[in-house]
Symmetry: C2
Subunit: 390 residues, 2 copies
Amino acid sequence: MVDVAVVGAGQTKYGNHASGLKGMWAEAAAKAFASVDGDFEPSVIDEAFIGSIAFGGSQLGNTAALLTEHSAMDGISVRRVENACASSGFAFRDAWMAIKSGQADVVVAGGIEKMNDLTPERKRYWLGVSGDTEWERLAGLTFPGTYALMARRYFHEFDATHDDLVHVSVKNHLHGSMNADAHIQKEVSFEKAAGGFMVADPLTLYDCCPTSDGASCVVLAADHVARKLTDTPVWVRGSGAASDHLALHDRPTITQLKATKEASTKAYAMAGVNARNIDLAEVHDCFTIAEVLATEDLGLTGRGEGGVFARNGEGRLNEGTTTVNASGGLKSKGHPLGATGTGQVVEVFKQLRGQVSSNRQVRDAETALTHNVGGSGATCAVHVFGRDRA
Amino acid sequence: MVDVAVVGAGQTKYGNHASGLKGMWAEAAAKAFASVDGDFEPSVIDEAFIGSIAFGGSQLGNTAALLTEHSAMDGISVRRVENACASSGFAFRDAWMAIKSGQADVVVAGGIEKMNDLTPERKRYWLGVSGDTEWERLAGLTFPGTYALMARRYFHEFDATHDDLVHVSVKNHLHGSMNADAHIQKEVSFEKAAGGFMVADPLTLYDCCPTSDGASCVVLAADHVARKLTDTPVWVRGSGAASDHLALHDRPTITQLKATKEASTKAYAMAGVNARNIDLAEVHDCFTIAEVLATEDLGLTGRGEGGVFARNGEGRLNEGTTTVNASGGLKSKGHPLGATGTGQVVEVFKQLRGQVSSNRQVRDAETALTHNVGGSGATCAVHVFGRDRA
């Protein structure tokens, strides 16, 4: 079976973009192509998988073909992949499988979203439609509310308080302050983050990620091609994906995301690693409580110990076993829904090649993972990457 | 490399459904599972790919996970695939690649749409957003208009008149009148079809497919599993896909769909067949002119001879070399956007197994093709199937 590597990766800055969707995508793709060592020629690309949800609310069908048409990939087999905020995590998985299938040697995976073209009502609508509609959205439950329920229950069950979430926020703002591509590039103090205005009790402004514009694009290649394209491929060592009930009331527990547990278990097994081997984890912290749960569900810490993990600063850059969200995470780097999953891959690619700014570099990073969640946990894709092939 | 077979396939009746999306999908899935010989257990399914565009306008994110949750596939890796009206053609391609990759043995591909829950304005919107937005939709060009432009130009360039389109309509209504799953089950006379009210000159009511509710689901399996599941697998012998410029003005010609030509060329080559070997072709006749172009672009007839092909009745059931749209096609079977691609596979599966009603059975059908187009030709997936493996 063919091995698969990431050979190029690029993204726009996350934030509020004046340029349109085609321009944003073209920029991310051009950066990805340029990051491939040597003279990369996009005409060698066989397939593309592009994640998006609302696409700025304009073009909604055939968006993937519209993007490849405007980025030197016209004519190829391309499709949009949608799994709410996990759209490009699955686009990446499907691109990986396309190469594994032997039907394609070079494949693009990417994602895009333009949230700030939407009116506040449409933004709320497009975010809401990624959770359960029948039982949650139409009853008025928004995503901050969904995750607030998880946080309240977590505080009830385990040794944790809102202060632990504040530690997550402070850490991710610190990391993001060093990331030139981040939506929010400023540190926040513990006191400021603890005193943010309430969004959905107990979650305050500093517990919630922003909604960003952004595009991200990565180039994957089969082993026999990857070595010709670059001297420093980043190998995809494991892929796992799973789904769960959309509505919280259908789950046996809301302090654990089953899809994360199953996806990561599969990805670790395929990669032949365990959580202790992960030097860098880009996890889906749409809300700070989501990062606390993710550290547990991914096995970076024990069940019920995510609050302590955050409190002790174990995920801080180069302080514990695993640096969590060196990019700033969704909280600080930003969250352009469909672009987030492959945006995590961009970070991991640069970190494993030692190509981020020196103050943000995870030391001796050999193995990394990305963790991309759709909605409140209905879909999840986890990938394990390594500088070495196995 | 593993060979892939379709081992089960089912669909709802196309038309106007009172039941909701989850119920429609569960019905299609249950029929697909039941069509697998033996006691098929859905717990063996590894992955699912589900095509949809508007999903009835309600749930719009994470819809694929919502559907698998309610059809005995909860927990699996699943994603929505969107390429306008070619959504499930690409879902099928991606399911096929997932098995080829060696990462999955049993995979579901399907599609769903509920057009009749949408208000007329929203229906027009959701159809419109699958064409080009910037240059076409916002300038008022709808899909009937897009295809009317193609028809007018076709009449100008070649030996063809509107009467040739009427022949397509009459044929597809005849075929659909024998299909218990079809949206419109009635014959129309040449005179009636020729005199339909004008929609977009020269296309009349009888040149335009209806917008339907419907769901379709197929089960694919790797060769080593397929033989255990059924004695009569239908083999996927070739898959091809391509894209094109969304806006008509960017294409060198509008009387030919480049994506269809490229997708079918690849699919034929992989299958080791040519157009003369195809006993049954389910082609994307969203408008009658689209079938005329498809017969040319797929090589069933020569360039500029699609009108003559229709006039001579060469696509009629068991009359020419290739029966075109034995199901009734989009024109008469109906067009539930995201469900159409895998719905074509349902027809081919049943035809190649000799399981359609006797009056509609293509005699001695050995090799068949599905042709699924997104928008006005921006995306296209073509698949070749055989009773024999190669």
